[in-house]
């Protein structure tokens, strides 16, 4: 293998399906079977997906390292590369560089209660950690997922949500801003649900990801509930290119989201110059 960090491995899309009108999930394997068998990553790490001729973008590997039949990515259609990705089908070749970035510190979360708080596609990075924890269920305390979206249609991983709720060893709370007639869960924004449930900070860790506004109010709600900065974990998004700390653009102060992140505790974020 080349040591060139810009050179993607060739990969093949083996399956795609729609999550929402603008989010599509891709299941991908490396073309080189030995490389695929040797591929290791940690929950929360990302990869750069390439469509040669269009470019590269960063996506979190949202399948867990405990399930290595394929690597899964869920992609929201927003711009050039993501539009092009959405046109690809099973069998099409892409490039993959990764794993990149840091990961969730699941070791330090062992024995604790875990509260996942997600909005929209923000569930993608939470999913990898959640599945990892479910695959190592005995290591963790109570697991709660609070997940919301604009409408029922905008919720990702819909099939799995029902599965998780039915498991019995975790709690799932769903909410939307605008319900439709068939909606039987909560209505309202995620931070309000959090406050409503009065989640206890006792021996707990909150892991949150979603649109910037949701994260802001979620963190405020968590603080009110008594969560300390060390107990709040979040992931950041920045425009990225190289993914390896060289091209410069993803910095927040002296830290690079691509190598020092994307996972940060609220305590770490407070140490950084406030440029979000």
């Amino acid at each position: 293998m080349s040591l060139n960090p810009y050179l993607p491995s060739l990969a093949t899309i083996i399956e795609t399906f729609d999550e929402t009108p603008d989010v599509k999930t891709f299941r991908v394997v490396l073309k080189d079977e030995a490389a695929m068998r040797a591929f290791r990553f940690e929950p929360g790490q990302v990869a750069q997906l390439s469509v040669f001729g269009t470019g590269e973008s960063t996506f979190v590997i949202c399948s867990p390292p405990t399930r290595m039949d394929f690597l899964q990515f869920s992609v929201m259609r927003v711009g050039e590369l993501t539009h092009r990705l959405h046109t690809l089908k099973e069998g099409d070749p892409i490039g993959l560089r990764g794993p990149l970035g840091n990961h969730f510190d699941y070791e330090s979360m062992k024995g604790k209660d875990i509260v996942f708080i997600g909005g929209g596609l923000g569930l993608a990075p939470l999913r990898t950690l959640l599945l990892f924890m479910l695959d190592n269920r005995a290591d963790y305390g109570n697991i709660t997922l609070i997940y919301g979206g604009r409408t029922p249609e905008h919720l990702c991983f819909k099939g799995e949500l029902a599965e998780w709720a039915a498991r019995g060893d975790m709690r799932v709370e769903l909410t939307v801003d605008n319900p439709d007639k068939s909606w039987s869960h909560r209505v309202g924004v995620v931070p309000a649900v959090l406050t409503d449930l009065a989640v206890s900070p006792e021996n707990a860790v909150a892991v949150t990801c979603g649109p910037p506004i949701m994260i802001r109010f979620t963190i405020q709600a968590l603080e009110k509930l008594g969560f300390t900065d060390e107990q709040i974990v979040t992931t950041l998004e920045r425009r990225m290119k190289c993914g390896v700390g060289l091209c410069g653009r993803c910095n927040i102060g002296g830290k690079f989201v691509c190598v020092d992140g994307p996972v940060f505790t609220q305590a770490q974020l407070k140490e950084l110059p406030q440029e979000f």
Binding site: P93, G248, P273
Partner: protein, 359 residues
């Protein structure tokens, strides 16, 4: 190592000889600009003024290929395509003539990013390994020069393979001092510098002409901390950046700026992935697909440029306590000299020192 002599009259022939072994880049005068050009037969290298562009082009070209790719249809099943990816060819050995000591020091700052930060950049590393710098020592400092603020000086040897000192003796030319074994090899055909030339040089170095040095360097050891103090003071940054045009002059001419973009250029069934210079002074640099931009204004962007050079870099590469921090700026002054609106990074840093203290 013996000091050699490069007579003005021998400059063109010597350069031509080097050009047989290297891709030679040498500065020439074109109107008000002094630009590096690839060696051509009738070229007259001009070493009299610092080149308009920094020397980084030799190590970090404005455009380079990261890879090339080709799509091919599967002949058995035409709905299927395969893609083939190739790495770029290794770079040619290069010799850069006519950089200044501030440019040569820029190499060290680029090394920090591309070799020492974490992941080694193989394209940069390959160029770095086979590029030599024949640098011209400065006889005086210009109004925009402040290399002595950031750890350099008009005759600093750091980062050069050969340093040329202008002398008037022996019909005029340069006393050439090799600083590396490769540099020594470059000079082995040149005569030894005469005693007169060496004495002239020694005298010059002992007493630089008085108007040459624009005043003592301020103590900037507290710059990183002052910067952080003023980070959230948007009024400060708005005033410092009010006239900035958000162009790429300062960053593209800077020997230490290293930010780049990656884009694909497609043509038919093949294409390339490019690495090109990018500038943190552009709004597009951090614009996200959602429309969110963490650096919406020129104030945010100037703050990042200054912050990177005078705070984040020294924090990332700390020096011993008490030593002057290493800044990601060699004090070459190009960003001042060529800025269309005369934004002066020295002024910004001095304002930081002053106002960051008061607040």
């Amino acid at each position: 190592m013996v000091a050699r002599f490069l007579a003005n009259s021998a400059l063109a022939d010597t350069a031509a000889a080097w050009a047989r072994d290297f891709r030679l880049l040498a500065p020439v005068r074109e109107g008000q600009a002094v630009v590096y050009r690839a060696w051509a037969k009738d070229m007259h290298p001009f070493l009299g003024r610092p080149p308009t562009c920094s020397a980084k082009e030799a190590l970090l070209p404005q455009t380079e290929n990261l890879l090339t790719y080709t799509y091919r249809k599967d002949q058995a099943d035409l709905t299927r395509t395969e893609v083939f990816v190739a790495e770029p060819l290794p770079p040619e050995p290069t010799l850069l003539l006519g950089a200044r000591p501030c440019d040569a020091r820029g190499r060290k700052l680029l090394d920090r990013v591309f070799l020492e930060r974490g992941v080694e950049d193989p394209l940069y590393a390959a160029k770095r390994r086979n590029t030599l710098f024949v640098t011209v020592a400065c006889e005086r400092m210009e109004n925009t020069c402040f290399c002595h603020w950031t750890g350099g000086g008009p005759t600093s040897e750091e980062g050069s393979d050969v340093l040329l000192f202008a002398v008037g003796a022996d019909g005029g030319g340069y006393v050439a001092k090799a600083l590396t074994p490769e540099g020594e090899r470059l000079l082995d055909k040149l005569p030894e510098a005469s005693r007169a030339a060496q004495e002239e040089l020694a005298a010059k170095l002992a007493s630089p002409p008085s108007q040459a040095v624009p005043g003592p360097a301020p103590d900037l050891s507290a710059a990183p901390e002052r910067f952080l103090k003023l980070f959230g003071n948007m009024d400060f940054w708005m005033d410092e950046s009010a006239r900035c045009l958000s162009c790429g002059v300062c960053t593209y001419l800077c020997p230490a700026c290293s930010c780049f973009n990656i884009t694909d250029e497609n043509s038919g069934m093949k294409g390339k992935r490019l690495r090109t210079w990018d500038t943190c002074m552009s709004a597009l640099y951090t614009l996200e697909g959602s429309g969110h931009n963490p650096r919406v204004s020129r104030a945010h962007r100037l703050r990042n440029r200054v912050g990177h050079k005078f705070c984040y870099h020294p924090q990332e590469f700390p020096k011993d306590a008490g030593a002057q921090p290493e800044f990601s700026c060699t004090g070459c002054g190009r960003c001042i000299k060529s800025c269309p609106v005369s934004v002066d990074i020295r002024r910004v840093v001095l304002d930081l020192m002053e106002k960051g203290d008061a607040s």
